[in-house]
C-alpha cells in the first residue's frame, strides 16, 4: 500500500501546533492577568491546554513511529539531530545561570561583605544530603545504562526493572531536594546567594522531574512491547536527557555546593 517513493515522513495535518501556540498565549497573558487582576483562571486554562497538547502530540508521534512505521533510518537520524540540538539549547540555558553565579561569587561586592559565601549566609554542608544526591543521580546513570543494554539484548524483565529503578532514584532525588529546600537556613530572597542558589538548583530540579516523566513514559512503552532490540529511539532520547540532567547536577554540586561554601 506504499504511497510514497521516498524514506522521509510527510506528516498528516495536525491541530497540535495551533493548540500549543494558543496554550503559550493563554499561559503568558494569564500570568499578566494574575498579576494585575488577581484571577488565575486564564493561566490555569493555558496550562491544561498545554498538557492536552503535549499528551496528544507525543501520542501521535508514538503512533506514527511504532504503529505506522514512519521512523525509517533517515527519519530517525533527523530525530537524533533534533534531540541533540534541543539538549544543546538546554546546556546554554544553564550556562546563563552558572554565568550569573560566577559573576557574583568571583568578585563579591562590599554589600555582601566582600566575601563568598556572603556575610550572614549559613551554607548547606556539601558532604551531607547534597553528596547523597550526587550518589543517587550517579547510580541512576548506571541503572539507565543497564536498562539500555537490557533492551538491546532483548531482556524484557531486566529492562523493566532497571528502568523502574532509575525512575525510583529520580523520585528519591526530588524528595531529598524538596526536604533540603524546606530545611534550608536561607531563602531565594536572601540576596544574590539565595537567587543564584534557588534559581539554578530549582531549574535543575524541574529538569529532574521532566526527565523522570520522560523515563516513566518509556517504562510504559517498554511494558507494552513498543521497543525492539534494534529500534528504541524514544528510550535513547530519554537516556540522553537523563545523563544531561546528571551532568548539570555535577556542575551545580562542584560550583555552588562545594566551591561556593
Amino acid at each position: 500500500m506504499a504511497h510514497q517513493a521516498h524514506a522521509y515522513h510527510m506528516v498528516d495535518p495536525s491541530p497540535w501546533p495551533l493548540t500549543g501556540a494558543i496554550a503559550a498565549l493563554l499561559m503568558t497573558s494569564g500570568l499578566a492577568v494574575w498579576f494585575h487582576f488577581h484571577s488565575t483562571t486564564l493561566m490555569i486554562l493555558g496550562t491544561i491546554l498545554l498538557l492536552l497538547t503535549m499528551f496528544q502530540w507525543w501520542r501521535d508521534v508514538v503512533r506514527e513511529g511504532t504503529f505506522q512505521g514512519h521512523h525509517t533510518p533517515p527519519v530517525q537520524k533527523g530525530l537524533r539531530y533534533g534531540m541533540i540540538l534541543f539538549i544543546t539549547s538546554e546546556v546554554f540555558f544553564f550556562l546563563g545561570f552558572f554565568w550569573a553565579f560566577y559573576h557574583s561569587s568571583l568578585a563579591p561586592t562590599p554589600e555582601l561583605g566582600g566575601c563568598w559565601p556572603p556575610t550572614g549566609i549559613t551554607t548547606l554542608d556539601p558532604f551531607e544530603v547534597p553528596l547523597l544526591n550526587t550518589a543517587v543521580l550517579l547510580a541512576s546513570g548506571v541503572t539507565v545504562t543497564w536498562a539500555h543494554h537490557s533492551i538491546m539484548e532483548g531482556e524484557r524483565k531486566q529492562a523493566i526493572q532497571s528502568l523502574a529503578l532509575t525512575i525510583a532514584l529520580g523520585f528519591y532525588f526530588t524528595f531529598l531536594q524538596a526536604m533540603e529546600y524546606y530545611e534550608a537556613p536561607f531563602t531565594i530572597a536572601d540576596g544574590v546567594y539565595g537567587s543564584t542558589f534557588f534559581v539554578a538548583t530549582g531549574f535543575h530540579g524541574l529538569h529532574v522531574i521532566i526527565g523522570s516523566m520522560f523515563l516513566a513514559v518509556c517504562l510504559l512503552r517498554q511494558i507494552h512491547f513498543h521497543f525492539t532490540s534494534e529500534h528504541h529511539f524514544g528510550f535513547e532520547a530519554a537516556a540522553w536527557y537523563w545523563h544531561f540532567v546528571d551532568v548539570v547536577w555535577l556542575f551545580l554540586y562542584i560550583s555552588i555546593y562545594w566551591w561556593g561554601s
Binding site: P15, T19, I22, V33, T41, L45, L52, R63, G69, F225
Partner: protein, 82 residues
C-alpha cells in the same frame, strides 16, 4: 482468526506465577488499526475517544482565545478609581 479467539478463554483462565501479570503484545493490532487505508489523520485515527479529546481541546483553545481577548479589552480600559 477464528482459532485465535477460541484460544483466548483458555489463556484467561491460566494460573500465572507471582511475578508481574503477563501483558499480551498488542502492537500488531495497533499497527493494523493505524495503517488502515481510511484517509483519517493520525490524531483521530484511534477511534471515538480521539475525536472527543480533540473536540475538548479545540473547545478550550477557542474559548481560551476569546477569554484572553476579553481580558485584553478589560486591561485596555481606564481603571476605575474606587
Amino acid at each position: 482468526k477464528q482459532h485465535l479467539f477460541n484460544k483466548l478463554p483458555v489463556l484467561a483462565s491460566r494460573a500465572f506465577s507471582s511475578s508481574a501479570r503477563q501483558l499480551k503484545n498488542k502492537v500488531p493490532e495497533a499497527q493494523k488499526l493505524f495503517q488502515e487505508d481510511n484517509g483519517l489523520p493520525v490524531h483521530i485515527k484511534g477511534g471515538t475517544g480521539d475525536m472527543m479529546l480533540y473536540r475538548a481541546t479545540m473547545t478550550l483553545t477557542i474559548a481560551g482565545t476569546c477569554y484572553s481577548l476579553y481580558w485584553l479589552l478589560m486591561a485596555s480600559m481606564p481603571q476605575k478609581k474606587a
